[in-house]
């Protein structure tokens, strides 16, 4: 085959499968390497000892009981949004509109709290909020899905644009609802607490955590053990095969995105009704984008996503703590997060592909038939 040329130094081939402990070992090695690079960067940029930085990151999440609950809350919301985008991703429908869908869900929740706050009993109000947020966000997600199903419109770009339309809608309503004209809606219904989620056992975030835990199990079961889950993974693997087998691809796309939107709506509901009790353009806080990474890093498996969302929430809390302790800019945490993500993303290559170096016998380029 190689005629007069020489065999290249190395060639890449795809692996068939790797035992799970090897692939996790590779990922762990990537994280360790990333931490070393982060340490170098930290010392170079700020002159602070990297061990001090790492200790602070750990302190940010586990330093006090309150901090631990904040970490759990962050984890829960991020996990909720990641659970939302996972069915879509498994179907290879790149839904990066999570940000907008969460905002629309939150907006619907806030609208209910605002307009119906004093007109109906609290229990009924919360029920209305749940329905409204889920329906609104599901519709928001169904729009790009419809166009993808019918005319193969690029869903990455469509969902991306829908995010910014959603942000402007929220901004508009914030302006309308705010009587003072500053564009910021304060805490909604502070006196009557109408529409505020009940606090369980005195722990402010416990309800959110419990709801998301239930959702995690639910989504895992849906993806793994139901017919719908099977259909959507077939569509993701090969659309042609799905059609051949008789699966209605348009229906699956629409159904999955409605589910995706509905779960984002729940995240918005938890944020507005359970945590913040207000709405603003930063309510989603970039989680729609972070969720893409959480979901992808976990290979779209909801159980692993608990770990990856823990990692990202941990880093986020840690970077706030760094900013506080060392007077460093809050964005330093973003830099560290970016570096760790690059390494993890890069490590996937070594899991999926194998590099084979040329052996001594092939150096002279003998031709094999």
């Amino acid at each position: 085959m190689n005629g007069s040329g020489h065999t290249p130094l190395f060639h890449i081939s795809k692996r068939s499968a790797l035992p799970w402990y090897l692939s996790w070992a590779i990922r762990l090695a990537a994280i360790v390497l990333a931490l070393i690079v982060c340490a170098l960067v930290t010392t170079l940029l700020t002159g602070v000892s990297p061990l001090g930085v790492y200790a602070t990151i750990i302190q940010g999440s586990f330093g006090t009981v309150r901090k631990f609950w904040v970490l759990l809350q962050e984890l829960a919301i991020l996990l909720c949004v990641s659970l939302a985008v996972t069915p879509a991703f498994k179907m290879r429908f790149w839904n990066i509109g999570g940000e907008g869908q969460v905002l629309i869900g939150g907006l619907a929740t806030a609208a209910c709290m605002f307009y119906f706050g004093d007109k109906m009993p609290n229990a009924l109000l919360i029920l209305v909020m749940i329905v409204a947020s889920i329906v609104a966000a599901a519709i928001w997600a169904a729009i790009p899905a419809f166009f993808k199903a019918k005319w193969n419109t690029n869903e990455t770009l469509f969902t991306l644009m829908m995010n910014y339309v959603a942000i402007q809608l929220v901004s508009y309503f914030c302006n309308v609802w705010d009587r003072k004209g500053s564009g910021i809606v304060g805490i909604i219904n502070p006196r009557t607490q109408a529409g505020w989620f009940p606090v369980i056992a005195g722990k402010e975030y416990l309800l959110n955590v419990l709801i998301v835990a239930v959702l995690t199990v639910a989504v895992y079961t849906y993806l793994r053990y139901t017919k719908h889950g099977y259909e959507l993974s077939v569509v993701g693997e090969s659309e042609r095969t799905a059609r051949y087998v008789g699966i209605k691809v348009e229906k699956v796309i629409l159904r999955t995105m409605i589910l995706s939107g509905a779960l984002c709506g729940v995240a918005g509901l938890l944020l507005v009704g359970g945590t913040d009790h207000t709405i603003s353009t930063t309510t989603a806080g970039g989680r729609g984008f972070t969720a893409v990474m959480v979901s992808w890093l976990a290979k779209f498996n909801p159980i692993f996503m608990v770990l990856t969302s823990f990692l990202l929430a941990f880093l986020s809390r840690g970077s706030s703590q760094i900013a506080q302790n060392f007077g460093l800019n809050h964005s330093f945490g973003d830099i560290l997060t970016g570096i760790i993500l690059f390494f993890i993303i890069g490590s996937e290559f070594f899991i999926n592909y194998r590099i084979s170096f040329r052996s001594a016998g092939e150096k002279e380029g003998s031709s094999h038939a």
Partner: protein, 334 residues
């Protein structure tokens, strides 16, 4: 009346130039099949690198009057290009050599880039010791903003066409050249082939990795210049964290709106720039409610969605996104 319109158009152009830089860069990248969602981060890095270069150059001067115009422009530009190139290389290495998922890599790059921009911005603000949360590089900015001296004497025509600084004209030039390159040169043909069907292009002997690397890295450098223009020109040398805002995403929207044609971007970016400032200046009727301004800000994105839907419905071959957009190429899987 004509003067107001001319002034408005010139402001629209100034808003649109960063978008033009960003969209031309991203168009080149997307034509090679790489969907670089890291462009917002790259524009941030381009801006902050230029600021770093200018900051240290200004500090090294004995007095502000000593400033050498050429160096004051050259140093920030080189820094900006270097920074954006570095970001582009990270993206290329991860997606082309390591075949990582492009959406995830791009979003991670944006997080990283915005973090770098805000971190160094905060750092310089601390060194500069100013009381407000911004750095003002007026001397450098004045060098960047030098426009043709006779422009003001030519009335409305001068305002609309001649009153910009060299970076603006450079943006237009780059876009036009990119458009011609894509459509009428062999290199452009090869690039388009790589983006449409890398398997076929590979079989024809085109080096896929090389084209992807070149297109993405050159695209990043062009986009980084957009960040530089924003800080030095539009914002008059003032950097404050997060001031750049969501313009990077607007640039990505512009790529779709121009149907992946850089030369259309020249006019389209002025349109987007104009829409952006419509909501700021009270030109369109708001009925007395400030809230309606927020709805106007939606217009560029809604228009992009409309274009996206229309092109997919009518499905004309020339107007589609590159067929292999977002996909990694691995020869053995062909």
């Amino acid at each position: 009346m004509l003067d107001t319109l001319a002034f408005y158009i010139s402001r629209a152009v100034q808003q649109g130039i960063p978008l033009l830089f960003g969209s031309t860069g991203e168009t080149l990248t997307e034509k090679s099949g790489n969907l670089n969602l890291g462009i917002p981060g790259i524009m941030y890095v381009g801006g902050i690198c230029g600021v770093i270069g200018a900051f240290f150059y200004e500090r090294s001067l004995a007095s502000p009057a000593d400033i050498n115009t050429f160096l004051a422009v050259f140093i920030p530009m080189v820094c900006s290009l270097a920074g954006s190139l570095f970001m582009g290389l990270i993206y290329c290495f991860l997606t082309v050599s390591l075949r990582a998922n492009q959406n995830v890599t791009g979003l991670a790059l944006t997080t990283f880039g915005v973090g770098v921009g805000n971190f160094f911005g905060g750092y310089l603000i601390k060194i500069g010791g100013s009381s407000v949360a911004s750095i003002a590089l007026s001397a450098t900015s004045a060098c960047f903003r030098k426009s043709l001296p006779f422009a003001s004497k030519l009335g409305a025509f001068g305002t609309v066409f001649l009153s910009y600084s060299f970076l603006a004209y450079l943006a237009v030039l780059i876009s036009l050249v990119a458009g011609i390159l894509l459509r009428r040169s062999r290199v452009g043909l090869h690039l388009r082939a790589v983006g449409e069907n890398p398997g076929t292009a590979d079989a024809a002997g085109i080096n896929i990795s090389k084209y992807k690397y070149m297109a993405t890295c050159i695209g990043s450098m062009i986009a980084g210049l957009g960040g530089l223009y924003y800080v030095m020109d539009y914002a008059s040398g003032v950097w404050s964290n997060d001031a750049f805002g969501d313009r990077g995403w607007l640039a990505i929207a512009l790529v779709i709106f121009t149907i992946w044609r850089p030369d259309t971007g020249v006019l389209a970016s002025i349109l987007y720039g104009g829409l952006y400032i419509l909501s700021i200046n009270n030109i369109l009727p708001t009925g007395g409610a400030g809230a309606v301004k927020e709805l106007y800000k939606m217009l560029p994105y809604v228009m992009t969605i409309v274009v996206l839907v229309l092109t997919s419905v009518r499905n004309k071959k020339e107007n589609q996104p590159p067929a292999a957009l977002g996909l990694s190429y691995f020869r053995e899987e062909r």
